[in-house]
């Protein structure tokens, strides 16, 4: 699907009077090929999404997504609400499998190995990915137990190792100073923003290869947001990060690559600098500059 046409191929009837009708065409259900900048394909991909479609019951939420997520880079997913960003993210670690109504087509590859092939050890797969959900979901246990949960289920028993993991993860998630005296309190007693950072600490506690973050900063104040962006900066290079955000500045500040999605379609995907400075499509520019809609 990743046809690198210089001009966007849009096979539609009736012919579009102006360029910005591509989105209207998508809304009508037309066939559409994403515009993918050539720079993406030169990267080594940790994760490769291949012609991926997903249905919630009868409703198709993802249409033939094809993306290569570069290794060690931060890739941002942007797009209007309901366009399928979370759905795509949740498909990567197969959390959507838990819903009975979900049906998929296509495949994803992690380091060249299929994620959706029959016989894949899903639990092992998920251990290689950390995930921060759109809404904070701390577990009903202490702050400490929350952070070390991924290590506990891996069978780690050593108190020293766990305590070390706990402190390191909380420091990275910019939460340590606030909770270091209340590690044994229930995680439910933290504020919303603290809970979200706790979930971030939990996601990185097991040192995953891929970090999936669904609007990690939506509930955070500017200071904590800044710290999380610093964390992302720090993790860059070691982890492959896929982050959903509604904040254009954040996307441009933190990410190396950006993908713009609309109604379940990938619209444009390329290096963040290119996408923000000289996008190939007017629609992308409109969305980024807020003229969209």
């Amino acid at each position: 699907m990743n046809t690198l046409t210089a001009t966007d191929t849009l096979t539609l009837e009736p012919p579009a009077p102006a360029g910005d009708d591509r989105l209207a065409a998508i809304a009508r259900g037309g066939q559409f090929d994403a515009v993918v900048h050539p720079a993406v394909d030169r990267e080594d991909a940790t994760l490769e999404v291949r012609d991926f479609c997903l249905w919630y019951g009868p409703k198709k939420a993802l249409h033939h997504i094809g993306m290569r997520i570069p290794r060690g880079k931060v890739t941002a997913l942007i797009g209007p609400s309901g366009c399928g960003k979370s759905t795509l993210l949740r498909s990567v670690n197969r959390i959507n499998d838990l819903l009975d109504t979900v049906r998929i087509e296509g495949d994803m590859l992690l380091n060249g190995d299929s994620i959706y092939a029959p016989g894949v050890d899903v639990i092992e797969l998920r251990k290689r990915m950390g995930m921060v959900f759109q809404k904070p979901n701390p577990f009903p246990m202490s702050v400490y137990e929350n952070v070390v949960y991924p290590r506990r289920i891996d069978g780690e028993r050593s108190r020293a190792a766990l305590a070390e993991v706990c402190e390191r993860s909380l420091r990275r998630a910019a939460l340590w100073d606030e909770v270091k005296d209340r590690l044994q309190e229930s995680a439910m007693s933290l504020s919303g923003g603290q809970q979200q950072r706790l979930c971030i600490a939990r996601a990185i506690a097991a040192e995953p290869e891929v970090l999936l973050m669904d609007e990690p900063c939506s509930a955070l104040d500017p200071i904590a947001t800044n710290k999380i962006e610093n964390l992302i900066d720090e993790l860059r290079g070691r982890y492959t990060i896929l982050i959903v955000t509604h904040n254009m500045q954040q996307a441009s500040r933190t990410s190396d690559y950006t993908a713009f999605m609309y109604l379940g379609h990938l619209v444009e995907y390329g290096p963040t600098a290119d996408l923000f400075r000289k996008p190939r499509l007017r629609e992308t520019e409109d969305y980024i500059t807020g003229r969209f809609g």
Partner: protein, 552 residues
Amino acid sequence: MSGGRAAPRRERTALFAQGEPMIWLTGGGLALALAMIAGLLALVVVQGSVTLWPGPVTRVELNDGRAVMGEVARSESVGATGGDGPVRRRLFRTGNFELTGEHFQWVADSDIRAESRPEWALVVERTAWGRFYGAPQAFLLDGRAAASDPASAWAMYEQHRLAVQRRLRERQRLESRDIGRVNRRIESARLAVKSAELRHGMGSVPHREAVARFEAVERQGLAEHARLRGRIEALNRENARFQLALATADGWEQAIPLADIVRACAPNRLGLAAKWAVYGSRWLEFLSGAPREANSEGGVFPALFGTALMTVVMSVAVVPFGVMAALYLREYAKAGPLVSLVRIAINNLAGVPSIVFGVFGLGFFCYIVGGWLDRSFFAANLPNPTFGKGGLLWSALTLALLTLPVVIVATEESLAAVPNSMREGSYACGAGKWQTIRRIVLPRALPGILTGTILAMARGAGEVAPLMLVGAVKLAPELPVDAVAPFLHPERSFMHLGFHIFDLGFQSPNSEAARPMVFTVTLLLIALIFLLNLVAVLLRARLKKKFVTGAF
């Protein structure tokens, strides 16, 4: 159009839109429900707590020359026969059954010539024949009067009372413990003969040996019996020396052996503190003693104990199964018509009349399972059933079946209340299904599971109908737990508070005396269930704080 057009006038908001009538309606419904519950509770609490209070003893002389003495149980107004308005009549608890053939007597106010509260009117609670009302006349020592006025007779009674009670307790111990031990030894030797006969055949060597052993044990046991009976008789003879002679209101004199007296008091002489002491001692006997007089007097300890033990065994049986079933239904089973069908079946099970469970328990547990156990392990005891009859275990299992839907539904509900985002978070960390259930879902659902469990316990503790079929009895000779190995005897039948209420209320030969006891036992049962519910609420609040909000 000019700008001065008035805004369209709106009607005043209708009464129904404001919803005032609905507030009255719903509030009224609540008030009605509360009033009914409060009324029922008040009735039970008031009636239940006055039963054991030592009321004054009244003596009335009737126009026809007779005299009646006793406690006033209740009074009522009856339509007049003479035409001058309704007449009050009172029910006197007169006791003295062996003399009058009645425990109670109605007296109309119009028949009374004089009424008094004699100082020396004694209420004597006895081990048999019910209460005795009379004035102390003399204290008899070996049949001769050692004191012959009320005050000194009473003083002598107080002086000898404790020693007599001590001898009684010793006799009781000899009878129940020592004789029981001898009997059990003989019985087990007899069983050995029987099983040797079953295994090796009549006349075989092991059989003959067992017979010889049995005869030796029996000889020895009979000698032991004779010795124990001698000691018991000596105690009886000693106790029989002390008697209290009482004069009844209508002139009879009766000597009552001290050994027959459980408690005697002269309520008209007692101050408030002394009355409270009597009240307390009656409650103590009620809670810790065994019943007397066809359950209408004495205590309910065996019933209390049986209820508690049965409830515990039931919970041990029902909770693991209920929780496992709910876990499977909610966490593992794929939603579909089959699961819906199972759910409907479970809800229907909750609606099945409890007596049906009783019938099932009798047929399945007692006759099929119990019969099989008897044939396989207790063959020597046959034709006497061991497990093949009603008993504590079968009752507990029957009620476990009865309360299973409660536990399943409550557990399922609390599992469903665990947010899916928590499960997703756990899976995203690489946890497996069971790890997620054990570490996230169960702790979070625990308060709800416990509440369901305790509600099931309360339901089980209050259930009567099925128990009448599978093991609850009017009077159990032994508790299901005692000092005889194996200490817990789940095959024994037991007493139960709910069945006790039924028995007192509807089966008692002395129904007037039993009636107030119904309230007292009901009070006890309600208190027990209230306690269980209280524990449920507190536990839930605590766990909720721990796992859902707040601090550890």
